[in-house]
């Protein structure tokens, strides 16, 4: 069952990311005001750099573009709590390196991405797509999409 486009769109987890009106996404992390380290998701209220005793984190939006570090696809349905559709639809998963943050962030690949045409090092951008329909609303998630050339 495809999500109903007329329903409200809500992030699968509140506070992890934000959807822009153009369908692009912003990952919401934490940045240490003392050592500038970035954390995603913002798990705790303090800095986890052992050489830093920062005990607060500022809100920060992560870069929306990065380069593909690795990728795969999942051809069998994961167990719960993955909200697998019935019948199961395989999906790709990408690990993308963000240059500014010097970190790698996972995400599903945008639907329709052909992994046979992907190569490590390709430029990727963040979008938001439906993940599942909880009955009342369409729950969305961030995904990585290859940047179209030209």
């Amino acid at each position: 069952m495809r999500p109903d486009p007329g329903k409200a769109r809500l992030p699968v987890i509140e506070g992890m990311f934000r959807e822009e009106s153009d369908g692009s996404g912003r990952l919401l992390g934490g940045r240490c005001p003392t050592c500038s380290a970035v954390f995603f998701p913002k798990q705790w209220s303090f800095c986890a750099n052992p050489t830093c005793d920062g005990s607060t984190l500022d809100d920060v939006e992560l870069s929306t573009r990065g380069t593909l570090w690795s990728f795969t696809d999942n051809r069998y349905a994961p167990p719960p709590p993955y909200p697998a559709r019935d019948p199961f639809e395989p999906y790709g998963v990408a690990a993308v390196e963000l240059a500014e943050e010097q970190m790698i962030v996972l995400g599903q690949l945008a639907s329709g991405t052909d992994i046979a045409r992907l190569t490590v090092g390709a430029e990727m951008e963040l979008i938001v797509e439906p993940l599942y329909d909880d009955g009342e609303s369409v729950r969305t998630v961030w995904k990585w999409k290859p940047v179209q050339d030209g």
Partner: protein, 397 residues
């Protein structure tokens, strides 16, 4: 050598799907290890166990569960969890207690029952649990990560699915003669090529299954061991490494959705995976060239190749050549996974790291029969558990 703990006995319950309680498996393994040591339950002064998280409270307090099942005797126990590294953290608890002078003989047990298919989180709704989050938000299973690592290896070093298949061929041949292995079937490259893709580039047979199983070892102080009648079969523990990553950990480890950021931090001298064996070598005063054999955690075929480099058998990017040279096959210079590895066992989380040590003990004793590594003197086991748990043991004759 006075500060080295001795393995007096090793025992296992065969891996498989037997439909019993993990306690039954663990008791069989514990009694087997005690019998192998020539000791009884009454000789055990400390019991350390690795927990299982899929069997309710008895699994959370595995040390107490096995102490009760073997017969309450008032001894101190501990129950530790460290994902796939649990067994070695339990071994380290027992070793430390002996080295601290608080026990002469300690029993270490790990046992599990495993669900069919993918491992998944326990029931409940836990957005602050990274392991729950990666399943719910991304559908990122363990094989997803294994596939990301495998693809990375292809990209960096030109590895191919045929290289991965060659690992499976080797391990399936190694396990043929292992009575504790669940799968005793020799795979050919053609059979592997017909196996369905689970997560590209990995096929079903590239990825280890989940199993029921149990393993146990009996450890003793050097002084106690020296007083035993039969010292010829005794094996020494030269090192135990249970290291964690060093910040910033910029490699994508399970179950994280993102790595640490390297901003404002100095990168550690070596990667987390490299640091696991490094700590073991440092403690043992040994190096890769001293190894007779190794048991490495082949959650996937491709991962076995990574471990070759992480434990220093070859330089980064040379694992495929080392494999094809036959060096890591039985009969070669340094056979890897002479037991057959996870490829032939399947994963039984708290038992697996202990089972690796059981195999090394059997090898350096020269009791491995058809899968014996000639003249085995030094063996290393290595694995990595979720949430930054490194584990490595070096045993010597």
């Amino acid at each position: 050598m006075g500060d080295q703990v001795v393995v007096l006995g090793a025992g296992m319950h065969p891996w498989g799907k037997w439909g019993k309680s993990f306690v039954e498996y663990g008791v069989v393994a514990a009694r087997a290890a005690l019998a192998d040591a020539g000791l009884g339950v009454a000789d055990v002064q400390y019991l350390a166990a690795g927990n299982t998280m899929r069997n309710g409270y008895p699994g959370y307090v595995s040390g107490s569960t096995f102490a009760q099942a073997l017969g309450w005797r008032g001894i101190p126990v501990s129950s530790t969890y460290a994902a796939c590294a649990s067994g070695v953290v339990a071994i380290e608890a027992a070793r430390a207690r002996i080295l601290a002078g608080k026990a002469d003989v300690a029993l270490v047990v790990g046992a599990d029952t495993a669900p069919q298919g993918f491992f998944g989180p326990l029931p409940g709704d836990r957005p602050t649990d990274p392991d729950w989050l990666r399943f719910h938000v991304l559908g990122a299973t363990n094989p997803t990560y294994f596939a990301l690592y495998a693809r990375r290896r292809m990209e960096l070093y030109g590895a191919t699915p045929k290289d991965f298949a060659a690992v499976k061929v080797k391990n399936s041949r190694h396990g043929l003669a292992n009575p504790n292995a669940r799968y005793r079937k020799e795979f050919t490259e053609d059979e592997i090529a017909e196996s369905p893709v689970v997560a590209d580039p990995l096929r079903l047979v590239d990825i280890c299954a989940t199993s029921d199983g149990a393993a146990a070892v009996v450890l003793a102080s050097a002084e106690f061991a020296a007083r035993q009648a039969d010292t010829a079969r005794q094996v020494r523990i030269a090192a135990v490494s249970t290291v964690t990553p060093t910040y910033p950990n910029t490699y994508l480890d399970m179950p994280d959705i993102a790595t640490d950021s390297a901003i404002g931090a100095t990168l550690p001298e070596r990667s987390f995976r490299d640091s696991i064996a490094h700590a073991a070598y440092e403690e043992a005063g040994l190096g890769p060239s001293d190894l007779s054999c190794a048991e490495v955690y082949d959650l996937s075929t491709a991962l076995e190749l990574d471990w070759y480099e992480n434990i220093g058998l070859c330089a980064p990017g040379e694992a495929e050549s080392l494999l094809h040279s036959g060096a890591t096959t039985l009969g070669g210079r340094v056979p890897v996974n002479p037991s057959g590895g996870l490829a032939c066992f399947g994963e039984a989380i708290p038992a697996q790291a202990i089972a690796q040590v059981c195999e090394l003990v059997t090898q350096v004793r020269g009791e491995a029969g058809e899968r014996q590594v000639d003249g085995a003197k030094v063996g290393l086991s290595i694995n990595q558990g979720l949430f930054g748990h490194g584990s490595s043991v070096i045993v010597t004759r």
